[in-house]
């Protein structure tokens, strides 16, 4: 085998590799991206200048060095991150070993696999477009090795191939049984999360308030709860260190008993990935999906982090009572020092009954000239709550929840901060509720002997519209949004809702297409059991039909296409053949017509005319002549038939 492969396909190969690695490089550590990019550039330069490749041991040293660095950085060579990095290095280093066709094949297969691995590192939908394009690029580069051709011709073929591949792919996508994971994958670090965090620090929520991305979507089975009842319960913060609220370790045992005092809400959520364990549920959750449990702090905890968009079905109580709880003691914890003013204020309520103390606390906020703003002055430091309550008096939900809970604890009422989302926007087109990051909210929960844990939302006292109308309208009153004055016009709003329902459909039927959806669809199609003999038979029939159709589609162009002029000419020469004048294989039309007119002198004129038209139409590409030819031959044929009948 030739040691230097053709230059042009090699350049295609390098470009393809760069395309394949591009989205992965967003996930790599910067040094790795830099190394891979410079290796690709170097290899491209070698291919461009026609220099010889470095010797074989070079790739060995290079790859082992890179593996060592990856191991140092990622602590592993397998799994979601380390594995992809290792593969990317392997494929890039292999580019320096393109000596035979076999090397090209290995690199191409690695590239296909890396494209597949792209779905691990990026969860947005645009990755599908990239994957499709990269797949075609790799395939096109393989075509170039077989037969070098212009990129127009090549891309035409590739697009046809894609169209031939898609029906089969969709068929398999819909009907291939969705099975649970074959084995569990190694635990992954959480990366790149958005949304609520597992602790609450000052400023967290005002950051989220501007984030329009979707946190989750909810479809309700019965009625939609009203705005003020839409509290989506997330992490519960029990521990206050003077500045931040932290979560206690999640514990399942010792939780309260819950008694429903109102209707049960059944709903299905489509959760965007946030890479943490908790699910969000309307408080208080009743039944949870199989993968989740209710913690002793009434928080729904999934057994794995939500790393992909996930759908789950839940039920909740909007009114409830809890009893028997082990967590009450920890709900009175406060740091030793700090915020003396707030402590003093709370101590003055100690004589009152617990419900009265809660009322006093809310009263203090209502009548204390507090205002709600997204850009509060800093309330930091060990006495941050004092600064907020007695000096600045401007804040956001986190400040109110945090201060109120502090006051309650100082007054001897067990209380805690609950973070989550509040509200949500109804999409009437798609019949579901959209909850965005901007809906992130924090509120308090107090424990009273009669009713157990109950929600108290101090923000609702300060800015009732925040709770009743959602964040957008409130923000337009308090602060102007950075990009436009006030709320967006109606049509933009509608456009956004329509777009969102489109995205939601895609998310649910494509990205969220799982075994449950599949069973749902099969039911609609009247397929009782996906493993019944009848179903398998039908599938086999359907797939062979698809393949047969595809085969016809793929081979249709091989059918011999005859020029219309010569088709008509054939018809004419068949007529003459009946009169004993057969066109011989070596005879051109002109020679034949001369012979035919001498054999059939009575047809001399018509033979001459038709031959002239045929030559003009066939060789002169004269469309008018083609029409005349067709007419003349039709006329002649009719006459002949008429004569033979007479």
């Amino acid at each position: 085998m030739n040691t230097t492969l053709a230059r042009k396909p090699t350049q295609y190969l390098i470009a393809t590799q760069a395309l394949v690695l591009a989205p992965h490089s967003l996930q790599f550590s910067p040094w790795l991206t830099l190394v891979l990019a410079s290796l690709l550039l170097w290899r491209a330069w070698i291919a461009y200048s026609g220099k010889t490749l470095p010797p074989a041991f070079f790739s060995l040293i290079l790859s082992s060095g890179l593996f060592f660095l990856i191991w140092l950085d990622y602590q592993t060579l397998i799994g979601r991150q380390g594995g992809v990095a290792t593969l990317a290095c392997l494929a890039t280093v292999k580019l320096f070993e393109t000596r035979t066709q076999r090397d090209i094949k290995v690199i191409s297969l690695l590239a296909y696999f890396l494209v597949g691995a792209g779905f691990l590192s990026v969860s947005s939908s645009w990755i599908l477009g990239w994957a499709g394009f990269a797949m075609l690029a790799i395939t096109g580069q393989l075509i170039q090795w077989q037969s070098l051709q212009t990129w127009q011709l090549m891309s035409k073929q590739l697009i046809y191939m894609l169209f031939e591949a898609i029906p089969f792919a969709i068929f398999l996508f819909v009907f291939f049984p969705r099975i649970p994971p074959l084995w569990s994958m190694p635990d992954e670090q959480t990366v790149g999360r958005t949304g609520l965090s597992d602790e609450m620090r000052p400023g967290d929520f005002s950051k989220l308030a501007r984030d329009e991305s979707v946190a989750f979507r909810v479809e309700f089975e019965n009625t939609l709860p009203k705005m003020s009842a839409r509290y989506w319960r997330g992490p519960v913060f029990d521990l206050f260190d003077g500045e931040a609220w932290l979560q206690m370790p999640v514990n399942i045992a010792g939780g309260p008993a819950i008694t429903a005092r109102g209707p049960v809400m059944n709903y299905t959520m489509t959760m965007e990935p946030h890479n943490l364990n908790w699910l969000l549920a309307l408080d208080i959750p009743g039944t949870l999906p199989d993968s989740a449990l209710l913690s002793n702090r009434l928080q729904a905890v999934n057994n794995t982090p939500i790393s992909q968009r996930q759908r789950y079905r839940l039920s909740s109580f909007l009114l409830w009572r809890t009893s028997d709880d082990d967590t009450i003691k920890s709900a009175l914890q406060l740091p030793q020092n700090g915020n003396p003013q707030a402590r003093k204020l709370a101590a003055s309520w100690r004589a009152l009954s617990p419900p009265e103390r809660v009322k006093q606390g809310l009263n203090f906020l209502t009548h204390g000239h507090f205002s709600y703003t997204l850009q509060p002055p800093l309330n930091k430091g060990p006495n941050g709550i004092d600064t907020f309550l007695f000096k600045n008096k401007q804040g956001f939900c986190e400040h109110y929840a945090s201060s109120f809970t502090f006051l309650m604890r100082a007054a001897g009422i067990p209380s805690r901060v609950v973070a989550g989302y509040q509200g949500g926007e109804w999409n009437s087109r798609g019949k579901y509720l959209i909850v965005r990051q901007a809906n992130a909210h924090a509120w308090s929960e107090v424990w009273l002997a009669q009713s157990g844990w109950q929600r108290v939302d101090p923000t609702a006292v300060i800015a009732p519209s925040r709770i009743n109308n959602g964040p957008d309208i409130n923000l337009s009153q308090a602060d102007s949004l950075p990009f436009m004055e006030g709320a967006p016009p109606e049509w933009i709003h509608n456009l956004r809702l329509n777009w969102d329902s489109l995205i939601n459909g895609w998310n649910q039927w494509v990205i969220g297409y799982d075994s449950r959806r599949q069973i749902q669809l099969f039911k609609k199609l009247g397929i009782p059991d996906a493993l019944s003999g009848e179903f398998i038979l039908r599938m086999a029939l359907a797939s062979s039909l698809i393949l047969a159709l595809l085969f016809l589609l793929a081979t249709r162009n091989t059918a011999i296409k005859r020029d219309p002029a010569s088709r008509i000419w054939q018809r004419f020469s068949r007529q003459l053949a009946r009169k004993g004048c057969l066109q011989l294989p070596h005879e051109g039309p002109l020679a034949f017509s001369l012979r035919a007119s001498s054999q059939l002198p009575q047809h001399h004129d018509v033979i001459h005319y038709i031959t002239q038209q045929y030559i003009a139409a066939r060789y002169g590409k004269d469309t008018a002549a083609l029409i005349r030819l067709r007419k003349a031959v039709r006329h002649y044929t009719h006459n002949q038939i008429k004569q033979s009948l007479l």
Partner: protein
């Protein structure tokens, strides 16, 4: 026992092959039933890659990765069709190859045509176990010569022509056969440095000294030796003058089989071949006398060919066919 089984299998294959690809000299159009296709090793590796991606999709529950894995499988399927289609409805015709000397490579002309709108790519042609010839792109028509190494004199029958393609990406290998009874006459291999022949009158060597008695110039005729062209005169004249000689050149020479009784059959034929070539080159009219065959002395290419053909087929009715899979 095993050998017998092997033989009967070979016979069965032979019968099957001849039934499926009946021998015909006219053009053959490759239809559905004449094309075979199987995935290549690369194709299996590709399927394996797609399945690995599918397993990843299952384990990480990535719906889009499912879709991608299935698209890859679909693509593999589209490639299968395309590879098949690359051979479909090709119109092939093989012709007899021009004569060669034993040990030389015969070149069988192949005429390929197709009238579809698709161009065909990366086709490879070869006779079994022989060097293959490949064609990159055929728009509508192509002609090429398929090499076949000749071994000994006589008729060389072409074995089945094997044509194949891995286009577009090499995941599938499609192939077919063209069973065309074309042949090539193989002349005996001329002896290197043959001894001079014995002339009838003076028993003198004639090859080296035939150019002694210059008789004049005449216009060039096909078959004349380049060494006898009068280049100096050619510079001044429109035609190509050739020197001719009066001496032994004019004396016709009959090369006789019996003359060389001391040699074996093949060696005799080799020497006769070499003499014929030499005589033709220097312009001595020559004839051939073989047992049962006399060719009167003459000069010129057709004469040379009939002499060489006679030598090729002398006492050799058995037609040779390279051993192949099917014949």
């Amino acid at each position: 026992m095993l050998n017998q089984l092997k033989q009967s299998r070979q016979r069965w294959l032979h019968r099957w092959f001849n039934k499926r690809h009946p021998a015909q000299r006219s053009a053959v159009v490759l239809r559905y039933d004449r094309i075979y296709i199987l995935p290549s090793g690369f194709g299996y590796a590709f399927c394996f890659t797609a399945l690995l991606i599918l397993i990843g999709a299952i384990n990480y529950q990535l719906s889009l990765a499912y879709l991608f894995a299935f698209t890859l499988l679909g693509l593999g399927h589209a490639v299968l069709f395309r590879t098949f289609r690359n051979l479909l409805k090709l119109r092939l015709q093989l012709f007899d190859a021009p004569a060669v000397f034993a040990g030389e490579v015969a070149a069988f002309p192949l005429h390929i045509r197709h009238s579809s709108t698709l161009s065909r790519h990366a086709l490879a042609f070869n006779f079994l176990h022989q060097t293959s010839v490949s064609l990159n792109i055929i728009e509508h028509e192509a002609k090429l010569a398929i090499p076949l190494l000749s071994q000994k004199r006589g008729w060389l029958n072409a074995p089945a022509l094997h044509l194949s393609s891995d286009y577009p990406v090499g995941w599938c290998h499609a192939w077919s056969y063209l069973n065309s009874p074309v042949r090539c006459i193989v002349w005996p291999r001329p002896e290197n440095d043959p001894p001079p022949w014995q002339t009838e009158n003076n028993q003198e060597n004639n090859t080296g000294r035939g150019e002694e008695d210059f008789a004049g110039l005449r216009p060039y005729q096909a078959g004349d030796s380049l060494r006898r062209i009068a280049w100096k005169q050619a510079a001044h004249s429109e035609s190509l003058p050739v020197k001719f000689f009066n001496s032994q050149a004019a004396a016709p020479q009959v090369f006789s089989w019996d003359q060389l009784s001391q040699l074996e059959t093949e060696a005799r034929l080799s020497r006769l071949t070499a003499w014929i070539l030499a005589a033709q080159q220097i312009g001595t009219p020559y004839g051939l006398s073989l047992p049962g065959l006399q060719i009167a002395p003459a000069l010129g290419e057709p004469h040379q060919i009939s002499c060489l053909n006679a030598l090729a087929l002398f006492d050799n009715d058995a037609q040779q066919t390279p051993t192949g899979k099917w014949q």
